[in-house]
Amino acid sequence: MNLPQLFHNAAFGGVAAAGFGVLFHIGIRALPWCVASGALALTVRTIALASGWSLEAASFVAALTLGAAAQLIQSRITVSRNALEVVGCIPMIPGGFAAKAILGLFAVATQHAPTTHEPFILAVENTWRAAFTIGALGTGLAMPTLLMRVRGISQARTDRGTAQSGVMAPAGDTKSNDPGPLFRRRGV
């Protein structure tokens, strides 16, 4: 394991996540959480890549870890779980691959007399890498939420977290954390 590389990626992943946190209008006080989420995601991905995993598999594990961590701490933080997951994953969005893929397809289309299939193969490879990496990120983030919902505790935890933080709670509100008839009916 190359430790300087690990710290480098974690630090710049955190900075990128914080920068995009500002772009997404996350409150200034919540930015340290954005830094932490980006650093966590990049740390896991770097370790997985260093262990010989593919970019797609490493991105999946990183997103899964981030999603699980956000589920665990959501009741203790003043930023939505969704926001934390999104900004943490933003540094792993394969925008560069997507751009290379489309540029490659442009190049293939403008070749007058193609002498080699290499540009086409490279463009297709970049396209699939971008698609699979986004798929891995989305699936990794969604899995903890879907699993928690199957267990029926996600909503109750959200309610409890809001009740603990007391943000904007109406005065004299002493009602229990009952998720309500709608959620009972749907089993959410």
Binding site: F12, L23, N82, A99, I102, I134, M168
Partner: protein, 283 residues
């Protein structure tokens, strides 16, 4: 924002006598008519969609709002450009539809709306109080000023550059190009320029500026830097939302988002391609 509604009594005059009590149903547990509750729930949904929430979040929050005011049944259809809701209590029901504006990202507003909806569900707010709170949130939710956002985007893109292997000489030009690109993007948005045209213009501007700067600074990774400088335009939130919506059983909305993401990527790449053609890079 224009509101589209359908009154059963108008569309079905023969049944108006039967439907009249339903439409005149004025109270849900003494806290607002079906009409008021439906429109309030739709307003929460619309703001959430425009703040970049997933369909599941929109569905949960609108259900929280409606059930908080006594609705027993809530069915929501989340479309890319509109929301439709049917709420009911006992034998009575009402359906309403609401147009959704351009989808953006505002996590601060998203969080405030979720918190408010949770309070409505648990608390004893009246519809009027909830409406006032919603208007206040929409008006005052945290928007960082451009002079903070633009440098932050520049720093984020510069950090991306390091992650993607750009040398230190290329980092400064990325920061400057992305910062100015974000300012240009805001200017174009304020003049209501089409988002796809705006994307290509910003991508071309940032990529060209970064390419020139990287050459001047002696960077050996100028082509990569030119691509990194436009990563501020990559629609990360919509792409994750698209997949999330598909995975959670809403393929129509997910596909619509995915198509939008794909088209934006094509327009970003067009800007980069024009810049690289101009500077003779990437060949």
């Amino acid at each position: 924002m224009k509101t589209f509604t359908t009154r059963e009594s108008e569309s079905l005059p023969a049944k108006s006598a039967t439907n009249a009590p339903m439409l005149k149903l004025s109270n849900l547990q003494g806290r607002g008519s079906l009409e008021e509750v439906a429109m309030l729930a739709l307003e929460f949904g619309r703001l959430l969609m425009e703040a970049g929430a997933t369909a599941r979040s929109v569905e949960e929050v609108t259900a929280q709002v409606a059930s908080g005011f006594g609705a027993e049944r809530v069915d929501l259809r989340v479309g890319y450009a509109s929301l439709a809701i049917t709420i009911g209590r006992g034998p009575n029901g009402i359906s309403r539809m609401r147009k959704v504006g351009p989808l953006g990202v505002n996590q601060s507003l998203d969080y405030a709306l979720r918190t408010t909806a949770a309070c409505i569900e648990r608390g004893s707010w009246t519809v009027a109080e909830a409406r006032a709170e919603l208007d206040r949130l929409a008006r005052t939710s945290s928007h960082h000023p451009d002079w903070i956002v633009a440098p932050a985007v520049g720093v984020a893109c510069a950090a991306f550059g390091r992650l993607l292997g750009v040398d230190w000489a290329g980092i400064g030009p990325i920061f400057v190009a992305a910062t100015l690109g974000q300012l240009l993007r805001r200017q174009l948005a304020s003049h209501h320029i089409n988002v796809f045209v705006s994307t290509t213009v910003v991508a071309f501007f940032s990529s060209t500026l970064c390419g020139l700067g990287a050459r001047w600074a002696g960077s050996a990774t100028a082509p990569t830097a030119m691509t990194v400088a436009v990563l501020l335009l990559v629609p990360g939130v919509p792409s994750l939302n698209a997949l999330s919506d598909i995975l959670e059983g809403r393929p129509t909305l997910g596909s619509a988002r995915a198509v939008w993401v794909a088209v934006i990527l094509v327009f970003i790449t067009t800007g980069i391609w024009l810049a690289q053609s101009l500077l003779g890079e990437g060949r």
